[in-house]
Amino acid sequence: MARYHVSATVNGDDVEFLCEPEQTLLDVLRDELHLTGTKEGCASGDCGACSVMIDGRLVCSCLVMGAEVGDREIETIEGMADGEQLHPLQQKFLDYAALQCGYCTPGILIAAKALLERNPDPTETEARFWLAGNLCRCTGYDKIMRAVMDTAAEMRGE
């Protein structure tokens, strides 16, 4: 059985792993690299719980083969806080209680961070469309949106 030797960067660290061709990047992150912050929801690209960044693009890690990511730069939820210092989005999600069960939260934080890096001043409509691929089955969307919009304002210094 062929196993693929892959070297990539995860949250700025060089990593190497062996993976089967059937393993997705999500499987690799969780089972090989033990970065279990990235969650598996639907495993078919519908729910966004497994969102990560690859070379600066927001993607579902369940729709990426582990073998594909050689030399790619991957960012996961584990890289979001700076040591003990939470990212402003993480802090606002706590302040607003923008989570219930929390399963969708890592994916939403990654997706929201990607939005604010690209567009520091989104309208609520833009933010809702951007996050339309992140499902929260506790239906906490209103608090999530308030947390994202308030973080954006704070990061703009308003």
Binding site: M1, S44, G45, R57, L63, M65
Partner: protein, 300 residues
């Protein structure tokens, strides 16, 4: 060859090989070498099908390491878009956005932001879903697909690639490498609209791609109309285009367009919509799409 390992759901795992060639020629050689080979571009359909065990390829050929398939290049008489360019990448190309807003809006309707980070037009075409959003828009734009295979290279109109659900006209070992969008005549506008029962994140119940060109006195002198999700493949409907040509795209012409679009629709009944509903809405969407294309043509 079945292995002794078992999959997450207890089924046998078929040995699957992964290759990421760096040239189109190497990709074609790999695809030709293995009956069970599948192309991996954005993976947004392939990985779902793998997971659902709808397919069990023995070889997956990842084409994203082929630089030419990820480039958008300006040529003298048009723009060439690599078949493995992701939606998010095409959306950042200002010239393409300005030239083919209808194609771009169709492509960008596919899935979420996450899906847009990976999904490709080559994949959308070759997955051959009758409801593929980018396909009617590409057909309306008059795009051609460049195909490389063991027998060499050929250019084929986009409408000739998908032949039925999940089926293409590609021969063994052939790979769609890029799409060519000819430089539009002055005063040309294109548009794509689909009907879905919600705002976003859904599959077209019907879709319409229309591209039209006006003369100096605002009379439509050329038009292409393509309809999606109302037949086994995206349709090119000359009768619908003829309803616009020679007219100022006024109410009478739009009514004839709607009638021709509904007449051409041969949809199925399914959970997304009944046959009768699809036929009726096809006409409505064609008319609305033409109105957007008209406004864009006047602005160009």
């Amino acid at each position: 060859m079945a292995s002794d390992r078992v999959n997450w759901n207890g089924s046998d795992v078929i040995t699957m090989r992964y290759e990421a060639p760096e040239t189109m020629e190497a990709a074609v050689e790999l695809l030709s070498s293995d009956e069970g080979a599948r192309v991996l571009a954005g993976g947004t359909d392939l990985l779902v099908q793998l997971r659902a065990e709808m397919i069990e390829p023995s070889l997956v050929v990842d084409v994203k390491r082929i630089a030419a398939m990820r480039e958008i290049t300006k040529e003298n008489d048009g723009i060439r878009v690599g078949a493995a360019v992701a939606g998010a990448e095409l959306g950042e190309h200002e010239e393409f956005k300005a030239t083919w807003p209808g194609v771009l809006e169709a492509f960008e309707l596919i899935g979420s932001t996450q899906i847009q980070g990976r999904a490709t037009m080559g994949g959308n075409l070759c997955n051959a879903s009758p409801a593929a959003d980018s396909v009617p828009a590409m057909i309306a734009a008059g795009a051609t697909a460049t195909i490389l295979g063991p027998g060499g290279q050929r250019d084929v109109p986009v409408e000739d690639i998908a032949i039925g659900p999940g089926q293409t006209s590609l021969d063994k070992g052939e790979l769609v490498t890029s799409f060519f969008f000819p430089k539009p005549a002055a005063r040309t506008g294109d548009a794509y609209l689909r009907f879905i029962p919600r705002t976003e994140m859904d599959i077209a119940v019907v879709g319409a791609g229309i591209c039209l060109t006006l003369d100096d006195s605002d009379i439509c002198k050329a038009a292409r109309v393509s309809l999606g999700a109302v037949a086994a493949r995206a349709l090119v409907v000359d009768e619908a285009a003829d309803a616009l040509i020679g007219t100022p795209v006024d109410e009478a012409a739009l009514a004839k367009l709607a009638e021709a679009a509904s007449a051409a629709a041969k949809p199925i009944d399914d959970k997304r919509g009944t046959k009768e509903f699809r036929i009726q809405v096809m006409g409505v969407m064609a008319r609305r799409t033409a109105e957007i294309a008209l406004a864009r043509a006047k602005a160009n």
